[in-house]
Structures are given as C-alpha cells and as structure tokens.
Point group: C2
Chain length 333, copies 2
DNA sequence: ACACAAAATGTAAACGTTTACATTAATTAT
DNA sequence: ATAATTAATGTAAACGTTTACATTTTGTGT
C-alpha cells in the first residue's frame, strides 16, 4: 500500500506538502499539486483514514443505534441518514440494541472507542440508565436521538407528533361522516401508543362525540378471541362506523377479521391505521394511514448532527415532525 | 481521555505490559494484571480502537454494501450479519449503492481506506466493472458476496437457488390441480428473474404442460395498461387457473387487478409469489410464496467471512440456499 | 537593487496503540 | 549454589497521517 511517504519520495517534496494537497490546503501551488496528484495516481495511492483519524481526532464515522434494523420504520430512517451523510464523506456504523439496554451500552461504548464523530440513536424500550448519554453530552460529542428519546432536558431530538397524528386521523373520520367511532389501541405501557389514544379521545371530545366503555379496546393477537371480541362488539353496537387503529399491521389484521364478519370497508365502516407501512397501499382496500415520515426523520436527525459537527450550532434542538394524513380507499367516501 | 500511557505512569509499568493486559497476553502475571485493571477502572480507561487498528492492521470493522437498506430482504440480511458479527466484537459499517455502480465503487474504496477487515456485499444492478473486486481478492482481503454476485470464478458467495424456488412453486401449483399456468416475469435483464422464469418453464416441461406465447408475460406497472393486459389475457384464455409471479409485490398488485375482474382466488385461480415479504401473510387472501431465508443468508455470509478472517479457511466457498415453499390460502385447495 | 510581505514548502513531533527484540526476574534442574 | 530454562517485563520503533512552527521562495513596491 502506497503512503504519503512514497509520494514524498517520488516527488521530492515533504510529507507536509503532500498531506496538504489531499486536504485541499490553499497554500500549495498548482504546480506541486498536480505533481503530487500525478504521483498519487501512478502509485494508486489512497489515504489511510484510520491514520488520519488518529492524528486529527476526526474519524468521519457516525454511529447509529436502532432497536432493529429489520423493520421498515427504522430501515427507512437509516436510509434517510445514510443518504444525507454519505454525500458529505461520512460513513455510518450500525448497531442494533434488540431492545436490550446492555447491547445498547456496549454498542455505544464501542462507538466511543472507535472515535466516532457523532451518534444518532433511538433508545431501546428497556433503557433506564441515562448516565452514558449524559457523559457523552457533557463531553461535547454530538448526539441526536430520534423517535424514541430519553427523558433528558438538553438533548437533540427528532420525534413524530403521535398525538397530532391520532388527532387528524380521527378528525378525518369524523369529517367523512362517521358518527360512532372506536379505537383499537396499542400496548398502553408504550408512550407513543398512549399519545395516540389521547389524540383520538381529544378529537372525539372536541367534536362532542360520546365516549363509552367500549370506545377504546385492545386486541390480543389471538385470532379466535379477537374475532369473538369484534363480533360481539358489533352485535352490541352495530352503528359503529369508524375505527382508528394504532398501527397498520393491526389494521390489516382487523380488516381481515371484519371481512370475515362481512362488514364492508369503507361502505359500512371506515378504517384508518397509523404508520403508513410499505404494504398499506398494496392491500385491498388500500389502507388509509398516518405517515410517519421516516426518511425525513433520518434526514433531519442527520442534519442536526451535521450542524453540531461543523460547530454551526451548539444549542440542542428539539424537532417534532407533523405526521401526514394519507387517505386511501379504506376511509374514502 | 485516559490512555495506556496514563495507566503505565500510575502503575509504574511499561506501555508494553499494560497493552498486553488488554490483549489478554498469557505472559503477564495475575498480580500486575489486576493492578492494571484497577488503574484502568480508576481512570475510566477505554482502548482507542483507531490507534490499535492503525498499528495492528486489524480494524475489527466489516464493511457491508447493499443496494437499499430500506427493503425487507436486505435489512433482514443485515440483521443476520449484525447478530453474527457483533458477538465476536466486530462492528459493521453500512453503505447503500442505490443501484449505482459509482456509489458502490466509492463505498468500496472508502471501506478500503478505513482498513476494514472484511467486506460483505450484494452488487448493484448496474455493476459491470469487476476490477476492484479482483484487486480486493488478490490482496487477500476477505470478501463475501450475497444474493447478487458478480460472475467471477473464485469468490465466496451465498445465494438463493432461484431456479429451484420457481420450480417448486410451479410444481406446487401443478400438484394442486392447476392445468393452465402462466408466469408473470420480472425484468429479464436481471439474472435472478431469468432463473425464476427458467425454473417455471422447466417445471412445466417436466409435467408436460404446454407453453404458449402468452405463458410468460411482464407487467408494465401502469395500472391501466396492466389491467387491460390481464383482462384480454383472461378473455382469450379463460381456463388459466394458476399464476406464478416473480415477486410478492407484483403478486399483490396482480391480486388487486384480478379482484377487480371478479376472478376469485384461490377458487378460480391459484396464485403464488416469490420472496415471502413481511406483508404476504397479512393480505387477503394470505399469499403463498417462496421464502428467501434472508436472516440465514446474512448469517451464513458472515460465517464464511469469519472463517476467512480467522484464517481457518482460504478456499472460496459457494453456498446455495434452498428456498422454502410457504403455502397459504392464495394457492390452497 | 533592496526591504518586506506573502506564498510555498519543510521539519519534526504527535495521535495511542502494538510488537519484535532485549532484558531482568523467577523457577527448575543439576 | 549454579547454570539453564522459563516467565515477566521493558525498550523503542513503527503504523500513516496531521499540524504547529520554522524556513525558504516568490512577488511587490520603492
């Protein structure tokens, strides 16, 4: 492997000047610059980024931690991040927490050992110890959290406004003429699902819709039980004409249950999900949903990180994205 | 940041012994070992992996290139890779080619500049220049290709037996009683789609099914045109009772077209896709498909790489995975 | 022609490790 | 007790850059 030394030898220049050429230093004459570049080409020289990183303290590597990479939401975010950072010469190194706080800590520590220039992450469901985050922040290593963020005051974060998403989804159903709405909720221990439920209920309240004991329910993911549940629900309350579901996968599942009960969508009942999964527009009927703007979330997180990397910003930034209503046939008039 | 030097100073030992402790060298007495570890804890020492990498030539970083990370198939592969490598102290750095040969080359080169210990990749559709691959191989840098592999003799590769997948999908339809089969093919410039087509045709031949001009067709992804195409196809050949589609997304698309023509699945016509996408079991009717075993593909690619990294193997290894038939309602009897 | 500033290049140390080789300490065999 | 062997530690160079500082070269104005 050719090094800067070899180029120096060939050209008769010093290491410093050669180095300066590759760092686009202005104080190098065009003549020597081209001499160096010629020699570089001739030797098939490529800079050793490790060495540069060691000496300069800038690795041009960004660490990314997500719960699971194998998930449309997170992989889309990674896509957004990668696109943004690659153009600027950064590389991203990826770790999965698999929802384990231990994996997360280990990944984070190994990122530090690798001298990453910055960190982008979504914390695991089990993370309770924020000590390392605080250390990173106080060490001035830029870190931006997205989607799942720790409850800390001074952090960079990018999140989706789940409350608002639920609210506009519900209003959409109401505006479409639904008089009798219910919500199929997600695990109430998870904060985003709590927010979605609240958004739904607040929208009902705003439009003076009544709230009953059955207005919010959770499915069990046991098809037999769930079918039973839905069946009795509709037998007792046949006027239900709109459902807001906490996620798209559950929406599909529910759609199938409803279809087997011969309830027609959207004629008899309108349905809207949350997440705008990759398959939502492919199913029959195409599912209305709330888009989480994953690509943008990644891009924005990366942008905030970049601003800190380049010292253009030092104050923490809290970005809350507005979800987008995607209307498809399942909630059409 | 504490360094080995600080520990040496505190303990009164030399750099070498301290270094040896962290590299688990056997020739260091238990007494000094614990002395060093104590000091390390006290100073909150963490080894600088960049420095170690520079000196030793081993970065413990593996480069991974995929066309798109934002894709269930590839993100599952990445998941398999990450799981396997993380346990052994490796970190993975990810780049997307976005199907551009230029991006791919750049990523590859930056991996080399970063001194990655090995490379795992699936080549872009546009890759035609294999020179860099050959250089990498002749430089003895371990590289394993998965799914989309270059046509080179001596390479490590993990692929799915697309031919076989198509063959068993087709036989499954035949065994289910289909008499009049057609295939909706993918872009014939892509080798996996060619193989799937061949598997289909060979299965037909094996079972003495006739092949007509319309037996294989391609969709345009223009819904109007495609609906027209399918419509006339079925008007001319109403006895068509089975379709093997080159992919699951196209299968869903086709399913929707068929439904709008009031063709019922699986009663009137059986359908099977390829890929076993995350949504395939969620749609109505649940779609039969060929599972590509993505997680395993990643894990196996990583395993082969590891064998080369540890010098336990030097001969290139070609692994061809058998696809798995997943029968669901769309092809049920 | 000269002084002086600006531009271009050079010198050498530093980044934090690893490691070949040398040395010293501890153990064993005689 | 001594030599021989083994175990433990130390010395110093190296990995390939960057960069503060020093020096030389070039250009400008008089």
């Amino acid at each position: 492997m050719a090094s800067i030394k070899d180029i120096a030898k060939i050209t008769g220049l010093s290491l410093a000047t050669v180095s300066r050429v590759f760092n686009n230093s202005p104080s190098v004459s065009p003549k020597t610059r081209s001499k160096v570049l010629d020699a570089a080409k001739q030797l098939d020289y490529h800079p050793n980024q490790m060495a540069a990183a060691l000496r300069s303290g800038k690795s041009k590597i960004i660490g990314v931690i997500v719960p699971e990479v194998n998930n449309y939401f997170f992989s889309s975010i990674i896509n957004g991040i990668e696109k943004k950072l690659t153009d600027l010469g950064y590389r991203i190194i990826i770790a999965q927490s698999h929802e384990s706080a231990e994996n997360e800590q280990k990944a984070l520590q190994s990122f530090l050992n690798l001298n990453v220039d910055g960190i982008l992450m979504s914390i695991s469901k089990k993370t309770t110890d924020y000590a390392l985050f605080e250390k990173i922040i106080s060490d001035q290593l830029p870190i931006v959290f997205f989607d799942r963020i720790p409850k800390l005051a001074e952090i960079n974060s990018v999140t989706l406004d789940d409350y608002k998403g639920a609210y506009i989804a519900t209003e959409h159903l109401i505006e479409g003429g639904c008089k009798h709405l219910i919500h199929v909720a997600g695990d109430s221990k998870v904060s985003i699902f709590k927010k979605r439920k609240k958004g739904f209920l607040d929208a009902l309240a705003k439009h003076k819709h009544p709230v009953n004991t059955y207005t919010v329910s959770e499915l069990s993911s046991n098809p037999k039980k769930d079918l039973e549940l839905i069946n009795t629900l509709f037998q007792l309350h046949p006027t239900i004409d709109g459902i807001f579901v906490h996620g798209d996968e559950s929406s599909l599942y529910l759609m199938n249950l409803l279809q087997s009960l011969k309830i027609s969508i959207p004629k008899q009942l309108k349905l809207i999900g949350f997440g705008n999964a990759n398959y939502s527009e492919l199913v029959q009927p195409p599912l209305s949903s709330i888009d989480q703007r994953c690509d943008e979330m990644g891009a924005i997180a990366a942008t905030i990180l970049l601003k800190h990397l380049t010292k253009k910003q030092t104050m923490p930034q809290k970005e809350i994205l507005s979800p987008k209503l995607i209307i498809r046939q399942s909630s059409a008039n």
